[in-house]
């Protein structure tokens, strides 16, 4: 039985137990028996006990059996592949999996066929056992719950307990996701640091992972270099350009909208600005690569400057436009949070509106504004599509905005898109870069929160 038929059957069993429990209690009630809970709860109790344990077993089984097969199938590999390990084993596994999926490229080796057949056999047995166990478990659990139904049985309390477990489980997803993110980059990063010393990575000024293959083939070529500084310099440069665009425009429009604009203007302009935040980044990337970059190149060359066709300036400008609404709406919130009494006091002393804003409101809102800017920086650092499409791939250690630079995110995408060998230092370097990216963005985030916490004025 396939996974989906099994799931449908489980749902059917659950629904059947729900109705059984519900009806039993209803008929008993009509005969004058008094139950602790409403009939609905008895049905829910029986139905959920039938359904949920079985589903959990089903999901765990489906995940674990593939892992088991993958380790068992190693027994079929010829010794030389086992000895070589790494990428060869992955290729071997892919070959076997193709046979299992019924795809054949040319004439597979004998051991691949054998392994494939064995795998198919295991899979058949596993599916059969799985179906029997899961369906049996559902029925047994359902029956046990059904047998519990009695006038004294507190079904509502039981169901509510189940629900609260479900709610707790849902809220731990956030923690699980964080753990997942950390684990998925951590192990690969550690493996990367076994191949490349951390100091070379962190302080290296050359990034050149392309020679991996040549190096392994023994044909010499250049040595692969994994220094992350050029990428972080590029990220810094592009983010700086973006911030230079976004902060003045975003902050000035926030001030205007909060202090000067009539409610009508405000209620039309604000959503319009937020459209800029809602435009997918791939659209900005397309726009940067096709419209902005050629325009900058043309303009720069008319002034006699040399401009790379994928200049940092183009990516940075467009990214700046993207984060304008981010800066403006966050600043708008903090400016609005400044109590009116402060403004009134300033007006009372005879200040003009701009003097009030500049000398009273903005200083009071400053921690929040700084936090907003830091969050915007973090957003710019993590932004991917614009730089993938509009910034270059050449790892130049340069702070000239007219040069082509590369960024952390665009390197990660370039390395990890498509098929990759999981053992090579090149692939692993993407995970090390991701670790650095996560540390940087979370660090900025933490920093912003600390600023808000430490310097926030408590009014009334």
């Amino acid at each position: 039985m396939t996974l989906s038929t099994l799931l449908i059957l489980l749902v059917a069993i659950g629904v059947a137990f729900y109705f059984a429990g519900n009806m039993t209690v209803k008929t008993a009630r009509s005969k004058g028996k008094v139950f602790h809970s409403l009939p609905n709860y008895y049905g829910l109790w029986a139905g959920s006990l039938a359904f949920f344990p079985a589903v959990v077993v089903l999901i765990l089984w489906s995940i674990i059996d593939i892992q088991l097969f993958q380790s068992w199938v190693r027994d079929f590999y010829p010794p030389e592949i086992l000895a070589a390990g790494g990428s060869q084993a992955i290729v071997a596994l892919a070959k076997v999996e193709n046979i299992v999926a019924g795809i054949r490229f040319g004439e597979p080796e004998a051991w691949v066929l054998q392994a494939g057949e064995a795998w198919i056999g295991w899979a058949a047995t596993s599916t059969m056992l799985k179906s029997a166990v899961v369906l049996g478990l559902a029925t047994v659990c359902g029956l046990i719950a059904y047998r519990q139904i009695d006038t004294d049985f507190r079904a509502r309390n039981g169901v509510e307990k189940l629900i609260s477990y479900g709610l707790i489980a849902a809220s731990t997803i956030a923690i699980l996701t964080t753990i997942g993110i950390v684990l998925s980059v951590l192990f690969e990063t550690i493996r990367f640091f076994q191949l490349v010393p951390p100091t070379d990575f962190i302080f290296g000024t050359e990034w050149n992972p392309q020679f991996e293959g040549a190096e392994r083939a023994g044909s010499g070529g250049g040595e692969a270099k994994y220094g992350m500084l050029p990428m972080f310099a590029g990220t810094l440069l592009i983010s700086a350009i973006a911030i230079i665009v976004a902060v003045p425009v975003g902050l000035a429009s926030a001030v205007y909208l909060a202090e000067y604009a009539s409610p009508k203007v405000r209620s039309t302009v604000k959503p319009l600005l937020e459209i800029l935040a809602g435009v997918p980044t791939v659209v900005y990337g397309f726009f940067a690569a096709l419209t902005v970059a050629p325009a900058i190149k043309g303009f720069g060359e008319s002034l006699g400057l040399t401009v790379a066709s994928e200049s940092a300036l183009a990516a940075g400008l467009v990214m700046g436009v993207m984060i304008i609404p981010f800066v403006s709406s966050l600043s708008d919130d903090v400016i609005n949070a400044v109590p009116q009494s402060l403004r009134d006091a300033a007006y009372g002393l005879g200040s003009t509106k701009s003097e009030t804003t500049r000398q009273v409101v903005l200083p009071a809102a400053l921690p929040g504004i700084v936090a907003a800017v830091i969050l915007a920086v973090s957003r710019a650092v993590g932004e991917t599509m614009i730089v993938v499409m509009a910034a270059g791939l050449a790892a130049n250690l340069s702070f000239n905005p007219l040069d082509a630079v590369t960024t952390v995110t665009s390197q990660i995408v370039t390395i990890l898109v498509g098929d990759q060998e999981f053992e090579s230092a090149k692939t692993l370097s993407a995970f090390a870069l991701s670790t650095m990216l996560i540390i940087l963005t979370l660090g900025l985030n933490f920093f912003a929160l600390q600023i808000v916490k430490k310097y926030r004025e408590q009014y009334d």
């Binding site: 997803i173 956030a174 980059v185 902050l251 509106k353 003097e355 979370l442």
Partner: protein, 435 residues
Amino acid sequence: MTNKAFKGLSPQEATARVEASLKQRRKKEKRFRLMGLSAVVLALTFLVILFSGILTKGLPGMFQHYVQLDVVLDKARLDPQGDMSDASLFSGDADKIILEASLASIGEEGGRKTKKTLRKMVSSGGSQRLIEFVKANPELMGTTQTIKFAVDDDIDSFLRGFIKRETAEKDRRINDFTIEIVDKWQEAGLISYELSDYLFFGSASRDAEMAGIKGALFGSLLTLAICVSIAFPLGVAAAVYLEEIAPKNRWTEMIEININNLAAVPSVVFGIMGLAIFIVTFGMPRSIPLVGGIVLALMTLPTIIISSRAAIRAVPPSIRDAALGIGASKMQTIFHHVLPLAMPGMLTGTIIGMAQALGETAPLLMIGMVAFIVDIPGGFTDPATVLPVQIFMWADFAERMFIQKTSAAIIVLLAFLITMNAAAIMLRKKLERRW
């Protein structure tokens, strides 16, 4: 007053001094105001430039040039096995029949050169179109029908004026002879410019004139379906727990910190997690909407949890007290009273989260949804691509016509996003309740 400047000034003098400075201050005030206004105008200008740029490129991309040819539907040649099966139709002579029809359209027997040129002028998807036409109208076999075929993208570029007649022949992608034929077609009124049916009903293709977004659109829908069915229940459940049930302790605090941190993690990192966990560790296949949906769900979860919590917090405590007062249990209070009242806010947050997921590209690149997939995905485990990724791939193609196709696809994507956001705003306006 200890201020030195005002020491020893009589009130009249002080007033005079203030009045003298007033002009300057008013000017400053005006300048400040103007600065704010110009920032707003500048931001809106960016918006206008962005949208007008995409519209001017994209609207023409929704159209393309077709040539009408009188095709002789010869059953023996189109359907050699005579059973109208796909195998039989595809082994038939559809390509040759189109070539003959195009020869007839310029009134020539045609030498090798003419044939070779003509073959390149009608889109290579022509035979497929002919076969589909025959399949849809089997009763027309044996007659001569006028069918519209897309012209090749180079011809399309020429007709749009991107390839100029004045350019020297060797610098042009099409030669003088081809232009002659195009002129003949135009004189005979065979060329028409209309809404592209390939854009909406075609799938990924290397040929600009046949490329369409149908497959990507289906992929997006499947991915979003997975995403919403995971993110919405989980997000609402987590929000309910954190707002209504959770005790104020370390564990709860940790969950909250985690949610806020996840909201700040760059989207590409979620893709890396999806790659490492679902594909490498769990052995799930690449490029499938199921994995894409899960990754996007984890990514949008913080957004949904945060907005759902706000919605729950907005329900006044009096509602809970009333329910508890007449004997409802905690869960009954939550599920019968608080949740229905908080639902509009939660739905708004979910729609906004889904709009974010629909436009997301980077994490899906990581899990391999960037593959070149011609088939329309039929299920959650079929390889698929999504609309933003399709846009990303098309943006890489060099052909001039792909720029317009890409912009057209962007218009479709933006239309979806704007509809979703408008729906969220409408929902909020309509169902919003003031307590």
